[in-house]
């Protein structure tokens, strides 16, 4: 518990020191997407019975919580390959589970922070949705899944460039194809089958349903929780791989 809090404490300290930079950086992309896709397409375009802007906001929440939770991998890699602070953690009497939990919590915190920014921007754009328990549960599960995946992969990569490759090949395509900007069911059948294997598709679906006050699909929540648990366990085992 203490070790986990120490790791989380460090990430929070860094987040606090970079507060305004982070705030600006986390605001830029949702703002651009809202302007370019949301306001640009106007309120007259309707998707699934809602204005496109209303359709877009939950998708942006899903996408940004994924991106920000996964960004913890970059922080870990900077600590590992650039500042070598990871050695301080390796030399400390710290269990793998404490390290992984601390970093995953930090990833979830970043994701929640970025979600709050999007909701404020959405509110200022006149979009009011339902931010109920199911909404936040889906955001947290999505963040948990991608933060756990990020910590695990950060233990396996050998350099910064490896990390950039993972982001370019997995996170960026998922961000655009996982039901963020358009309904997945408008794609051809075979593409829909492929997209249903992406966790972000289920996160966007669950977050959007909750935001529209529709009944939750338990499968999406169970899938996110199960994948999150799997990645968490893998991350826990892969911490040892980071030792020389």
């Amino acid at each position: 518990m203490n070790g986990m809090l120490a790791i989380y404490f460090r990430e929070l300290l860094i987040l606090r020191k970079r507060f305004f930079r982070q705030l600006a950086s986390m605001s830029v992309s949702p703002l651009l997407y809202l302007i370019a896709f949301g306001l640009g397409m106007g309120r007259d375009v309707r998707v699934e019975g809602h204005s496109y802007l209303e359709f877009l906001v939950p998708g942006l929440v899903a996408m940004n919580s994924m991106v920000q939770a996964f960004a913890i991998a970059s922080e870990i890699n900077i600590a590992r390959f650039y500042w070598h602070i990871f050695e301080e953690f390796q030399a400390a009497p710290l269990r793998n589970i404490a390290y992984v939990t601390g970093e995953v919590l930090a990833g979830i915190t970043r994701a929640l922070f970025s979600t709050a920014i999007i909701l404020v921007i959405a509110l200022l754009s006149g979009v009011v949705l339902s931010y109920n328990l199911y909404f936040w549960l889906a955001v947290i599960l999505n963040s948990f899944l991608f933060a756990s995946l990020a910590v695990g992969l950060a233990m396996l990569v050998k350099s910064h460039s490896d990390q950039a490759l993972l982001t370019n090949f997995f996170i960026t395509p998922m961000a655009f194809l996982g039901g963020t900007f358009f309904p997945v069911d408008r794609m051809p059948g075979w593409v829909q089958h492929v997209l249903h294997f992406l966790p972000l598709t289920h996160a966007a679906k669950a977050i959007r349903a909750a935001a529209f006050n529709l009944p939750p699909d338990p499968f999406s929540y169970l899938l996110l929780a199960a994948l999150g648990a799997l990645f968490f366990v893998l991350a826990f085992h892969w911490v040892n791989r980071a030792r020389e």
Partner: protein
């Protein structure tokens, strides 16, 4: 205090350690010398949990480094070769984080930070961001951080690498003070004079093997007290003598240009390995 038995480490094709065995006594200041790539840092990384041994065993204060790794880690503090402070945090925050990682209660952390920053002479910089400190100050903060949880064993991996001579000497006196406080110190260095000044015993490492192990005095006495360097056909030859008179006699008997000096640990390493520590 530190017991190592037949420790090996292989990195794919490279055999970095080839069966190291040694015992460092409680309160001893032990220096581990060798040229770059001889296996010094690999040994420290294995002992402190940063690397996994390929075979062999080691115990820190009676705790096995792999089977009882958490207890073993609690016994030691590490000052690695590379500066690994959190540059975004202040001096005090770096020490706080270390204290939290070692489960120190908040009150104890606060008093220990004040005590250590005073001890290393940078109490006035406690709220300075680490990135604003000079290289020498960063090294001192790293030593303070390693001492936060009052370890019984302190590993110092090239603690003065890249520092100017005046700062190096300040760090030497700090290391001496730490040892006088009762800690066992395991020091790697390729500065011969550092080992001579600080260490009670020295192990020479060459290509993953210990090639000599004794006190600096005993190791040097095996060669003699004085050395004459002579330039012969463009290469340096060194002759060793029991005393200064014997060396002077040699100069008078032989023709050539000689340079007379005291024998040092570099001569010992040269004699046992045929190489210089600093090529």
């Amino acid at each position: 205090m530190i017991r190592i038995e037949n420790l090996t480490k292989k990195f794919k094709q490279l055999e970095a350690l080839k069966g190291i065995s040694l015992h460092v006594k409680q309160g001893e200041l032990f220096a581990y010398l060798g040229p770059n790539g001889s296996g010094k840092t690999t040994t420290i990384k294995i002992l402190t949990g940063l690397a996994v041994p390929s075979s062999g065993n080691a115990w820190l204060h009676g705790f096995h480094i792999e089977d009882d790794s958490l207890q073993a880690k609690r016994q030691c503090g590490l000052v690695p070769q590379t500066i690994n402070l959190d540059h975004e945090l202040t001096v005090s925050e770096n020490l706080q984080l270390h204290g939290k990682l070692f489960r120190m209660p908040a009150k104890e952390r606060a008093s220990r930070i004040a005590e250590l920053l005073d001890y290393i002479g940078i109490a006035d910089r406690r709220h300075s961001p680490v990135k604003s400190l000079s290289g020498g100050l960063k090294r001192r903060v790293m030593i303070a951080r390693a001492l936060m949880h009052s370890p019984k064993i302190l590993f110092l991996d090239e603690p003065t690498a890249g520092l100017d001579p005046a700062i190096r000497r300040r760090i030497w006196s700090l290391i001496k003070q730490i040892q006088q406080g009762g800690a066992t110190i395991f020091l790697t260095t390729h500065y011969i004079e550092e080992a001579e000044f600080l260490a009670e015993r020295v192990a020479f490492l060459d290509e993953g093997r210990i090639v000599a192990l004794d006190s600096p005095g005993n190791l040097m006495a095996g060669l003699g007290a004085w050395a004459l360097d002579e330039l012969v056909d463009g290469s340096m030859e060194t002759h060793y003598f029991r005393d200064r008179d014997e060396a002077g006699h040699h100069i008078r008997q032989q023709e050539g240009r000689f340079s007379m000096r005291r024998v040092n640990l570099e001569d010992v390493f040269l004699a046992v390995s045929g190489k210089r520590v600093l090529p």
